[in-house]
């Protein structure tokens, strides 16, 4: 039984290594510092969006509009900067507030008017796409006028100095170690099962990954700012889910909404809150995705909602709600981003890319179902 749990705990990691090895044998450039930096930036937008999706799926809802939302918010910000001579910070701030209001509104309609999230956000998908195209007038709108730099464009072009990233990595590894050790000690003194070897192995592996990442990045231009943003968002969402009342309520609503209501959980406010946070995250993902492309076009953000949902599901999030973790979602997003990046590197045709990603999604979920069945039996 122990071995099986360990296998399941690390199954996503194993899948990740296998996929990495596959692309590396196909083209050694896959693991080059340059490509990994590229991968980190590509990943950041999808992964940030996936974390937002986790917040919405946990209480048992879904958001199909986020891909269009990413395009729209990134597009509005680009138009403000390029066509209306706004400076980047107010443009980003104003559009983030706009996104927050839009998504809070959708959450409100879903809970107060009892229209299923699937339908409302499907409507959002179409409406946002149309508005996005209107706003950019079907043209290509750069995130910074001319060839200048601004805060908007720097989101995906800025790299941290090596000294800073080394210090950050060392700090993160130390804090992670302390937190894990403290958690383990507490569990042990409370008489809960906690495998010290497993805890150490987790910490050791995460330290290796962080250290290796910083080391490899330093051989290119340094750690990308986008990767740091992703790290901060992941940490915030993790703390929200594990340590706060809102996080606990999200799990409770997804586990059994009626029971949560009777238990005194303010169900409507909790779900609307999740959608509000989703609004902020959509804006952030919109800036990252648009900045990565350098400009807003009619296809910015297209199908990103599906990548986000896929990342959640691959990472073990239950679409019925009530189950899912930040770490799982990050792994899921990384697997999806690696597939896309690796196939681009191998010059796989777009048709085959779609087919491969779809098959991997189906395969991953099937394997997860199989593994969890054999665990409970």
């Amino acid at each position: 039984m122990d071995k099986r749990i360990a296998l399941r705990d690390f199954s996503l990691l194993i899948a990740l290594v296998l996929i990495g090895a596959f692309f590396y044998t196909g083209d050694a450039r896959f693991l080059s510092a340059r490509n990994l930096a590229q991968l980190g930036i590509e990943l950041s937008a999808t992964a940030v969006l996936s974390l937002g999706m986790l917040l919405v799926i946990l209480p048992g809802h879904i958001d199909l509009s986020v891909g269009s939302g990413v395009g729209l918010i990134g597009g509005v910000a680009a138009v403000l900067v390029s066509n209306h001579d706004w400076s980047a910070p107010p443009a980003l701030l104003v559009t983030a507030v706009l996104s927050l209001l839009i998504y809070t509104g959708m959450g409100w309609i879903i809970m107060k008017e009892r229209v299923p999230a699937f339908i409302i956000t499907l409507g959002g998908l179409l409406v946002f796409k149309g508005v996005h195209w209107l706003v950019i007038q079907n043209e290509t709108v750069a995130v910074a006028p001319g060839n200048q730099e601004n805060l908007y464009s720097l989101l995906t072009t800025f790299y941290l100095p090596n000294a800073l990233s080394t210090a950050l990595a060392a700090g993160t590894i130390a804090v992670l170690g302390l937190a894990m050790l403290r958690g383990h000690r507490q569990r042990a003194t409370r008489g809960f099962a906690s495998d010290s070897e497993l805890v150490f192995l987790r910490w050791f592996l995460s330290s290796q990954v962080i250290g290796l990442f910083v080391l490899v990045m330093s051989q290119y231009k340094g750690v990308p700012l986008a990767a740091l943003i992703l790290g901060v968002v992941a940490l915030l969402v993790h703390v929200l889910l594990q340590q706060t009342r809102l996080g606990r309520y999200l799990y409770a609503v997804g586990g059994n909404e009626q029971a949560a209501l009777v238990a005194g959980v303010p169900v409507n406010r909790v779900v609307i809150g999740a959608f509000a946070l989703m609004g902020v995250i959509v804006a952030l993902a919109g800036y990252l995705q648009t900045a990565f492309a350098g400009s807003s076009t009619t296809t910015t953000g297209q199908l990103m909602e599906l990548d986000a949902i896929a990342a959640c599901v691959i990472g073990g999030t239950s679409l019925k709600g009530g189950q899912g973790t930040v770490v799982g979602v990050l792994f899921g997003a990384l697997i999806m981003a690696m597939l896309l990046n690796g196939m681009t590197l191998l010059a796989v045709s777009p048709e085959q890319k779609f087919i491969a990603r779809g098959l991997v999604l189906a395969l991953a979920v099937w394997m997860d179902v199989r593994l969890s069945q054999s665990k409970t039996a």
Binding site: T244, R248, G255, Q258, L261
Partner: protein, 514 residues
């Protein structure tokens, strides 16, 4: 009598941290009704899961045999193929489908791949007529009451030509008339050679029906005897392993201030519909238990749910909590103010079954257990441990999934969650439904303890002895209206019953008998 039609030998089933069954052997003869008694967590549900094929053969040790031949059940289908049908406590019907479609669910009569609706209706009609119950096979199950749903479930098993029925608490939600009809049909089936395993906490039914009685306690089979050779008190003694001298603790303490008052309350299911509750007034004081009785469908649960803010639209009237008007439709606000609800439907309104015991226990009290939105993990753990101990919840740890606990222990988790908020008014809807005498007396003692601390309790129950034994005042509801209000110390069951039945109902039932 020939050999046993169904036999279980030395069944042992372990769950993580708990041995649910320990070397249990059980025999069912052809044409026998064999009652299975035991407290919550005694292992009845697990034994049923073994016999009904819910637990696959390799997940436990021991042997099963049908007609003397060894059998291996890998799934429910295998058990059904052997003629065994389990009717579970928590119903598994599809509300959106008709009665006939439910009866034949997964088993639809078809020709060339097309479902034969007409044949389905006719066959269902035949089965229903054997119950002497007028349920239209074409009506949607969602429109039926709880009692009628139970009968549809039984009809479904009979339509599959089951020769062994396993009935898990079949009468816990049925009215007296429905119970009589059910007991009659089980006896009729026995005459026709269909054996039954009958699980019930209602010992009067057990003695009325069963040929033999087996008692399980703590996962072991402690007693088996023909029902003629034993009696209620010895069964109870075997169940609890000790004597239950007094079920209801004596009343003590004095009444405090009025905590909850209701004036002229009328409620409709939805705005614009006909009222479900009409002109109801009462008040409850600290230290008092207010019992609410009535027949099924009288509106008892609806009244509690409305007070708590999760049912219906208020047409008229006022609800005051500690002198302040109570807002409508705000359960979270009610919990904050100090009013909690414990519902009868655990599966639907009770618990997050996939989450842990601790997660569920502290859910209502998180506001008190957190600062600036961050949960104080240390305090949460302390409170959870304290509650788990004081409610004597039987689970290996706070992290065990609630769904794996027995019904009685789940009910204790629901109660514990409510009490952790330190409420002033506790609304209890059938708190002892489907749980055994031992756990019942624990809950009665708990309710007394609450009133001694000055809390007010509103208790909805369909068991009249429970109302009389536990409540101070009793309201009887009748078709959504007050049928009468009584002092529990001076009232008789007959008086309560007549208050629960309107004149029109009495004539209907008299007509049926005549």
């Amino acid at each position: 009598m020939a050999g046993p039609i169904l036999e279980a030998q030395s069944i042992t089933k372990r769950y993580p941290g708990v041995v649910a069954l320990r070397d249990v052997s059980f025999q069912l003869q052809a044409g026998e009704v064999h009652a299975l008694c035991g407290e919550n967590g005694a292992g009845k549900s697990t034994l049923i899961k073994v016999l009904g094929g819910v637990l696959p053969h390799d997940s436990y040790t021991g042997q099963l045999a049908c007609d003397g031949k060894p059998v291996r059940f890998e799934s429910i289908r295998d058990a059904e193929a052997a003629g065994i049908a389990v009717i579970h406590q928590e119903l598994a019907l599809v509300d959106e489908m008709t009665v006939a479609e439910n009866v034949f669910l997964g088993n639809e009569p078809s020709r060339f791949g097309f479902v034969q609706h007409e044949r389905m209706h006719v066959e269902t009609q035949k089965v229903l007529e054997r119950f002497k119950l007028e349920i239209d096979p074409t009506v949607r199950v969602g429109e039926l009451g709880m009692g009628q749903k139970q009968l549809v479930e039984i009809a479904r098993a009979l339509a599959k030509h089951a020769r062994i029925l396993i009935l898990d608490e079949p009468t816990s939600a049925l009215s007296d008339k429905e119970v009589r009809a059910l007991l009659a049909i089980i006896q009729e089936l026995r005459a026709a050679g269909v054996s039954s395993i009958y699980i019930s906490h209602k010992l009067d039914e057990v003695f009325q029906l069963a040929d033999r009685i087996t008692v399980l306690r703590d996962g072991q089979s402690v007693f088996t005897a023909p029902s003629r050779e034993t009696d209620t008190s010895s069964i109870v003694q075997h169940m609890v392993g000790r004597r239950v001298d007094e079920l209801f603790p004596p009343r003590r303490g004095s009444l405090g201030d009025v905590l909850l008052s209701v004036r002229g309350l009328s409620v409709a299911p939805r705005a614009g519909e006909a009222p479900r509750l009409r002109d109801i007034s009462f008040e409850v004081r600290g230290g008092q238990v207010l019992g609410i009785g009535g027949l099924m469908g009288a509106g008892r649960s609806e009244l509690l749910m409305h007070l708590f803010g999760c049912y219906g639209a208020r047409l008229a009237g006022e609800v005051r909590f500690r002198g302040q008007p109570l807002p409508e439709n705000d359960p979270a606000g009610n919990v904050r103010a100090g009013m909690v609800l414990v519902t009868e439907d655990r599966k639907r309104y009770g618990l997050s079954l996939d989450a842990g015991v601790g997660f569920n226990l502290s859910l209502s009290a998180l506001r008190e257990l957190s600062r600036n939105g961050f949960i104080d993990g240390e305090r949460e753990l302390q409170e959870n441990r304290r509650m788990m101990e004081s409610m004597s919840i039987k689970a290996a740890s706070l992290e065990v999934k609630v769904g794996t606990l027995s019904g009685g222990n789940q009910q204790k988790v629901v109660l514990g969650r409510a009490l952790m908020t330190e409420p002033k008014v506790v609304l209890l809807d059938e708190p002892t439904r489907g749980i055994d005498i031992g756990a019942k007396s624990e809950i009665y003692a708990l309710v007394r303890g609450l009133t001694e601390q000055g809390l007010a309790v509103v208790l909805v129950s369909s068991e009249l002895p429970e109302l009389i034994g536990l409540a101070d005042r009793i309201l009887m509801l009748c078709e959504g209206q007050l049928g009468g209000s009584f002092d529990a110390r001076e009232v008789t069951q007959a008086e309560l019953l007549s208050a629960a039945m309107s004149k029109s109902r009495v004539t209907v039932s008299a007509g049926e008998h005549g």
